[in-house]
């Protein structure tokens, strides 16, 4: 299993378009991918589910834990990390 802790810095958190981008990225891998909102202390949710990700209520400034388990787990975590580094395509406010 691969895990990564990521800080969410983009303004709308994991709502709306960033959430959709996140889910589409996770869904492209065969591995089981899950997400937890460490700041809010949510239960792990299926990262391939928009409803699951929205229910984590991830806002700007929150820290999330993403884990992947399966044949392409390394690539899955790498792809998610890259998304977060690019602030999910949404300009971050300093």
């Amino acid at each position: 299993m691969q895990v990564a802790e990521l800080d969410i810095r983009n303004p709308s958190g994991l709502h709306a378009r960033p959430a959709a981008t996140f889910v589409k990225t996770a869904a492209a891998f065969r591995s089981k991918v899950s997400i937890e909102n460490l700041t809010r202390g949510s239960k792990p949710a299926n990262a391939k589910s928009l409803l699951g990700v929205l229910a984590c209520g991830v806002e700007k400034g929150h820290r999330i834990l993403v884990s992947a388990e399966g044949e392409d787990e390394v690539a899955a975590i790498e792809a998610v990390r890259k998304l977060a580094d690019g602030d999910f395509g949404e300009a971050a406010k300093g």
Binding site: A16, N46, L51, L54
Partner: protein
Amino acid sequence: MGTRIAGRPGAAGVAVGPVWRYNAGGTAEAQRKTAAVGDPGEALHAAAVEAASQLEALAGRVRDLGRPDEAGIFEAQAMMATDPELLDEAVARVQAGEEPVSAVRAAADAAGAILAALPDELLAARAADVRDVGARIARILLGEEMDLPGVPSVAVADDLPPSVAAEIPPGFLLGVALEGGSITAHAVILARGLGIPAIVGAKGLTRAAASATSVAVDGGSGEIVLDPGPDDLAEFSARAAALGESRRAAAALRGRPGATADGERVALLANIGSPEDAPRALDAGAEGVGLFRTEFLFMKRQTAPAEAEQAAAYSAAFSAFGPDRPVVVRLADIGGDKAIPYLDLPAEANPFLGVRAIRLAAHGSRELLLTQLRAIWRAAGRAGVTPHVMAPMVTTLDDARLLLELRDEARADVAATGNPLPERMVTGVMVEVPAAAILAPELARLVDFFSIGTNDLTQYTMAADRGNPALGHLQDALHPAVLRLIRDVVTGADESHIPVAVCGELAGDPAGALVLVGLGVDELSADAGSLDGIRAALAGVTRAELDDLAGRALAAGDAETVRAMAGALLGRHDRPAAP
């Protein structure tokens, strides 16, 4: 004679046409029918995929029409339709013996409930989107997915969600009659934009309309007639003709200042949301702007708008209306109900009772309001006008004093830069919090004018959420409890000889306008499209008649009674007077 049902007026207009029923639930009988067909789990998956592709197509169409925000909602809904969590839950329910239609609806309701419980208002709003997706999958399972009107029709429904309304081709929606819904429902706003009638809160409508083929609606009175007979049709066509004629006659009064039949002046102003609304307001004969909403400058962005950017927008509005048509700028009415990234506002359980508008000044955003005031001073200097400003959400005398202090500090800042400056800024407060109405005599000694926001004053006085369809009877600003507060505001203002304006929706409603002017309100500010109607209404009545109406309204027991009284006075002048 057809069956008559009474609802509440949502959008004015008269329409007659075939009934188009929208039913989010589907009938129990239809649910039983589908249960027997094929493998329920597979049927559910297929319906979900079909729903997703419908929603994607809808997103594409709406995007092509230049409405990207709406398209974003439908794209997210398309993802929700095939969401593994939603489908797993629905399939699990089916395996436990539930019927697919009710299983998918229950799964969507459960997912919606989780989102609705989140502290973030934006996410909570997604709850309705999930439930709507559940309803769409259910419709497909029931074979109802093609049920859009094939001919121009009147929609009859409990409620009409945006994803359904957007699918109706242009010109195919003649009117909207809803059993539920509030006057702020999406469908009502849509109807006003299309200029078609809408009625909400018509109890018993969907049951009564189950077998009706045609319907007549009067959005001004809230009357619905199912399967109208020849007499009904004659009556509604006469109403449509009268409405058209009175609209034409009212338009002919355009260009005249607002006044009663006996010549008492009532300034008629427009509400605008950006400088781009100025031409429409001027075309409608607005004598100025009673409410310039400035939120457009503050929303949908990552950093606060700079002074220069704001000044350009204010200056554009000031110049468009010139020195003889005052423009009242309302300071930003923002708070925790909208995500404003640069304010870092904490999430609140009740954002409309929280840190918003003038209250922001004491919670780390003093500079935000100062910048706005500096920009207004600067723009007025540039345009050569005396600026008018008002603060929303003022509750206490200290709020008003803070406003004056910020105003003076902003002026000193701009003066230090050597820019041209007007002598004074006409400074008022919005009266929308009951405390401010109660404190009116003292507030009036501090400021130059009052502007009553009837929507919020009603919401706060009646303790009834504006958007909650279950509380329709508590949302009418004509309730005597609200009217008595307005009377007190006028009395308090009169002691200090300051004018009182009303800029809420009540001001744009001809019946409301008569009651307000009767209570002593000096100015009415409304959407440009409403000005013809209130100008004509005032031109048909005398001061004595309005005094009499106000006296009876204050003593009435409920809003419906007041509405009927004002309607009777209006109706007397329904035949338009020759201009």
